[in-house]
Symmetry: C2
Subunit: 196 residues, 2 copies
């Protein structure tokens, strides 16, 4: 039941609709907790029932009405309790690595395509994160930001996301090179013991 704590942390920034949160928790944006809109709408209802958040309806004319949620004092207390409580280990589930683990020489072309795709995704995510970082720093140095700003949490988690995607790219490039070298080596007449 940690999705609710991720939502509470997100609401520290201010009011948000389910739709707003869905964007933040989207797989292509979130770097440490993801959730689908369906999960969020249901969880927001439960959290409202439990008094952790409060909702107000904003009527809009050219758009559907929306419910804006904000954290309550009880919600803040729940978040503090969560932070002090024991932490579960990180869950990583990466289909791509299952493919790498299980690949055979015959799978080389498919695996190369998977790695190229991964590099593309990681680069796109990294670019987004870097833009976000620039916006947060707003001209200040990292040193200055870390000592001056009130909440450094979002900046620190962003740094973790940036490091993760950089490592992704570095590793995928290395693996791609290794696999390609084997493919060309296997075909290269120079490597044959007995020339044809």
């Amino acid at each position: 039941m940690a999705l609710r704590h991720a939502v509470l942390a997100a609401l520290l920034d201010g009011e948000a609709s389910g739709y707003d949160l869905a964007k933040q928790f989207d797989a292509s944006v979130a770097n440490f907790w993801m959730a689908t809109p369906q999960q969020l709408y249901k969880e927001l209802e439960r959290m409202t029932a439990d008094g952790l958040i409060a909702a107000r309806v904003v009527e809009q004319e050219k758009r559907p009405n929306k419910r804006l949620h904000s954290i309550t004092e009880s919600g803040r207390a729940a978040l503090r309790a969560f932070i002090a409580d024991s932490t579960k280990p990180t869950v990583i589930r990466d289909e791509m690595l299952v493919k790498i683990q299980g690949m055979d020489s015959g799978d080389a072309p498919a695996v190369e395509a998977v790695l190229v795709e991964r590099i593309g995704w990681a680069e796109a995510k990294l670019a987004r994160y870097e833009r976000s970082r620039t916006r947060m720093l707003a001209g200040r140095s990292e040193q200055a930001y870390l000592s001056e700003s009130v909440h450094i949490g979002p900046y620190l988690t962003l740094l973790r996301g940036i490091a993760f995607e950089q490592e992704n790219i570095r590793w995928a490039q290395f693996s791609l090179d290794a696999i390609r070298r084997r493919r060309t080596a296997a075909l290269d007449p120079v490597d044959r013991l007995v020339p044809p």
Copy 2:
């Protein structure tokens, strides 16, 4: 339904019991796919029913009997199909980062403890991975291993795990320092505009 493909990849190494696999998929060992023993026993049954793996019972005297599972030709085909199929994005769920994101100055001591704990886990995991790497290389250079050995998948995924834990340590140490500096700065009389 990707657990089954992770199991198939694991069985490329040779026969394994549910218990053997449970050790490999344990949270403290696995670096890209985890599963509890309960999940595995159930999935192994289904996979046997689907003909992806075959089981044989080994009777033991001083231990409970065990069922050793091996991949079938149909299982190999399923794994190849999985590798060629589209890949789902990586799922990361890290409670610790939720805590970092949602922390307030009052949570500093708890957050520091969480970071210290994480560094300890990451170091333990890293040590295990490094030992595993040494064993795999068996004296050869990485270059030599990558061009000579038949299956490089497990080595490449291991490298990803090593990089992940190294990044974990580096980032956690950085964050810990940042948080501690703020704490001491807040208490340090030198920083006061008006000395007491």
